[in-house]
C-alpha cells in the first residue's frame, strides 16, 4: 500500500484519474488520448507547483516518506557486486546499519549507511533505522578496513537518531558515537557522505564525517527532531512545523549556511516517485567528488578534512564584527 502525504493528494488523485481513464479507453477501445494527454500535462504542472514550493515541514515529511528509497536501494542501484558484511566483533550485528564491499563506477569501495525498513515488520527488525552502539561500531570496523585496503568510503545517512534505550546506554552509545567522530576525522581514505532522508542528530553524524557532505534535494539534517525542539521550546510537540522552520534543516538552508557541499537534485515529485532517476543524479555527484578526492595523498586529505571541520561555525571576539580565523 503506497502512502501519500497530505500535500501530494491532489496530484495522486489526478494520477489515479489518468490511470482510470487509460484502462477505460483500452477496455472500450475508445480513443481518449487527447484527454489523457491534457491530464498528464496538468499533472506535470501540479507536480512542479507542489514540489518546487515545499515548506521545511513538508520536506521533513518527504524525508520520512515510507516509500523513499533507502540505503540498500541506492547501494543496489549504484553499485555492482555488493557483499554485505556483518557484526561489530564485540557484541552483535545491528540491522539498523548496513555495510559492505562493492564496486562503484569501476572501482572497489566500502559502502555503508543507516537502514530503515520498508514495512512494519522490517522496521521492527531494523529498529526504524535507529542504531545501537553495535551499529556504529560495525560501521567503524568497516571504515577502518576500507582504510587498511585503501578503498574510499561512501556513507548514506537516513536515521531519526541514535536509539534511546536501556541497552544502548549500557553498551556505551555516547562512547561509540564519539569514537566514530574521532576516527573518521583522520581516516586516510576519501569519505563521501550522502544524506538521503533523515539526518537525525548525533546518530546521523556518527556516519557523516567526511570530505564531502552531499544532501538530496528533499533530505533534512538536524540537531534535534522538529517535534523534540517544539516540545522543549514551547512544551508542545504539535508546533513541529514552526520548529522545522527555525532549525534550518533543509538541504537548501544548510548549503546556504556553508555546512554541506552540494544539494543533489531529485526527479520532480521526489525520489520515491522515481528511484532510478534519483540514483542517476546521485551517481553523477558521487563520482565527480570521488574523482576530485582520489588523487590526494592521505596526509593532505586528512589536513583538508581537519580544516573543513575546524572552520565550521563562525566565531569572533566580542566587539569585533568580522570573523576571526579558525
Amino acid at each position: 500500500m503506497p502512502t501519500y502525504l497530505d500535500f501530494e493528494r491532489p496530484l495522486v488523485e489526478l494520477e489515479e484519474k489518468i490511470a482510470e481513464l487509460t484502462s477505460f479507453s483500452q477496455e472500450k477501445g475508445l480513443d481518449l488520448s487527447e484527454e489523457i494527454a491534457k491530464l498528464r500535462q496538468r499533472a506535470e504542472e501540479l507536480k512542479r507547483e507542489i514540489f518546487t514550493h515545499l515548506t521545511p515541514w513538508q520536506k521533513v515529511q518527504l524525508a520520512r516518506h515510507p516509500d523513499r528509497p533507502t540505503t540498500l536501494d541506492y547501494i543496489r542501484l549504484l553499485c555492482e557486486e555488493f557483499t554485505e558484511l556483518h557484526g561489530d566483533r564485540l557484541y552483535g550485528d545491528d540491522p539498523a546499519v548496513v555495510g559492505g564491499i562493492a564496486w562503484f563506477a569501476g572501482r572497489p569501495v566500502m559502502v555503508l549507511g543507516h537502514q530503515k525498513g520498508k514495512d512494519t515488520r522490517e522496521n521492527m527488525r531494523r529498529n526504524f533505522g535507529m542504531p545501537h552502539p553495535e551499529g556504529f561500531r560495525k560501521a567503524l570496523r568497516l571504515m577502518l578496513q576500507a582504510e587498511k585496503f585503501g578503498r574510499p568510503v561512501i556513507t548514506f545517512i537516513d536515521t531519526p537518531g541514535a536509539y534511546c534505550g536501556i541497552g544502548a546506554e549500557e553498551r556505551g552509545q555516547s562512547v561509540a558515537i564519539a569514537q566514530n567522530l574521532a576516527r573518521m576525522s583522520f581516516l586516510r581514505v576519501p569519505i563521501i557522505v550522502v544524506v538521503i532522508g533523515e539526518g537525525g542528530s548525533g546518530g546521523a553524524l556518527a556516519l557523516a564525517v567526511g570530505d564531502r557532505i552531499l544532501m538530496q534535494e528533499h533530505a533534512i539534517f538536524s540537531v534535534i527532531s522538529p517535534e523534540g525542539c517544539a516540545s522543549i521550546l514551547w512544551k508542545d510537540a504539535s508546533r513541529a512545523k514552526e520548529a522545522a522552520e527555525a532549525l534550518k534543516l533543509t538541504a537548501q538552508d544548510l548549503l546556504a549556511l556553508g555546512l554541506i557541499d552540494e544539494v543533489v537534485p531529485e526527479p520532480l515529485g521526489g525520489a520515491h516517485r522515481n528511484r532510478e532517476g534519483a540514483a542517476e543524479y546521485l551517481r553523477g555527484a558521487i563520482l565527480r567528488h570521488l574523482e576530485e578526492l582520489e588523487g590526494i595523498p592521505p596526509d593532505e586529505l586528512c589536513r583538508q578534512r581537519y580544516a573543513k571541520y575546524r572552520r565550521v561555525g563562525p566565531t569572533f571576539y566580542r566587539g569585533e564584527r568580522e570573523e576571526c580565523d579558525a
Partner: protein, 254 residues
C-alpha cells in the same frame, strides 16, 4: 544562606558546604559547581591564565529568542559562554584546562564552545601540555542547529589530532554529562574520571522513559553505573580529585 541537600534533605549552612568543596557533609552529594569554583578547587592558586575570554558566536540560524537567552545567561553567570578555557598548574604540573558551566544554557555546545575547546586542544598540542576538561553539559545547543552538531565533529577531530601526537587528554565527567557533549569530547579521554552520582549518558533519562514507556532502574546512568559497565576509569570524590589528577599528570605528562 541555608541550602537543602537535594539528595538527603539535610539543611546545610552555605559556609559549611563551601568549606567542604560543596559536598553535603551528611550524604556526600556533590553540588554542581560554577566554572569559577571548579577552577578554584582544581588549580594551584593564582596559576590560571584564561584563553579567549571574549570569544563568542553570533546567532547563525537567526533562531527566535536565542539572543535574549544568551544575554540572560551572561548576566546570570558573569561568563561570556558555557566554557572557560586557559592554562594553569595542578600541584606544579602545567595543564591546559577547560571547564563547562551548566548554568549557562545547560552547558550546551554551540560554535563558541566548540571553537574554544578546539583551540584549547590545539594549544595543548602546540605546547605538548596535558589537556584536562571538566564536563557539565546537556549536549549540543539546539538554537544553533547543525552548526552546533558539527562542533561534535570539530572537537573530536581536534582531540584525535592531540591523541595522534601522544599528548594526554583527561576528561572529568560531572553532573550532568549527556547528549552531543558526552558523545564527542566527553567520552574521548585517555583517562575518563567522573564525580560520584553524576548523570552521564547519551539520551537523558526522561526521554528514555517516554520512549520505552517504563521506569528506569535505580542508579541508571549514574557515574557508578558507568564504571560498572566499563565506560569510565574511576569515580573520584571531589576531595580526592586534585590528588588523583596530580598522580595521573605525573605518569602521563608528555
Amino acid at each position: 544562606m541555608w541550602v537543602k541537600c537535594p539528595q538527603c534533605g539535610e539543611i546545610l549552612y552555605h559556609k559549611d558546604i563551601a568549606k567542604n568543596l560543596k559536598v553535603c557533609q551528611k550524604c556526600n552529594y556533590h553540588f554542581r559547581l560554577t566554572a569559577q569554583e571548579r577552577l578554584q578547587f582544581t588549580l594551584d592558586e593564582g596559576s590560571f591564565k584564561e584563553f579567549d575570554r571574549d570569544l563568542v558566536a553570533n546567532n547563525p540560524l537567526a533562531f527566535p529568542g536565542y539572543e535574549e537567552k544568551l544575554a540572560a545567561a551572561r548576566e546570570a553567570t558573569g561568563l561570556m559562554e558555557a566554557i572557560v578555557t586557559g592554562e594553569g598548574t595542578i600541584g606544579g604540573y602545567p595543564v591546559v584546562i577547560g571547564v563547562l558551566d551548566s548554568r549557562f544554557i545547560m552547558g550546551s555546545m554551540g560554535a563558541a564552545v566548540g571553537e574554544k575547546l578546539a583551540r584549547a586542544a590545539e594549544a595543548a598540542l602546540a605546547q605538548r601540555l596535558p589537556l584536562l576538561v571538566f564536563v557539565a553539559s546537556g549536549g549540543a545547543r539546539m538554537q544553533e542547529g547543525v552548526v552546533s552538531l558539527m562542533q561534535m565533529a570539530k572537537t573530536a577531530a581536534a582531540l584525535e589530532a592531540l591523541s595522534q601526537a601522544r599528548v594526554p587528554y583527561i576528561s572529568v565527567l560531572t553532573d550532568p554529562t549527556t547528549g552531543g557533549v558526552a558523545a564527542s569530547f566527553g567520552m574521548l579521554g585517555d583517562v575518563i574520571l567522573a564525580e560520584p552520582g553524576a548523570l552521564i549518558g547519551f539520551t537523558g533519562p526522561r526521554v528514555i522513559e517516554q520512549t520505552i514507556r517504563q521506569k528506569l532502574p535505580e542508579g541508571f546512568q549514574r557515574a557508578e553505573f558507568l564504571l560498572e559497565r566499563g565506560m569510565l576509569d574511576m569515580v573520584v570524590h571531589r576531595k580526592q580529585m586534585r590528588s588523583v589528577l596530580v598522580r595521573l599528570l605525573r605518569w602521563y605528562k608528555s
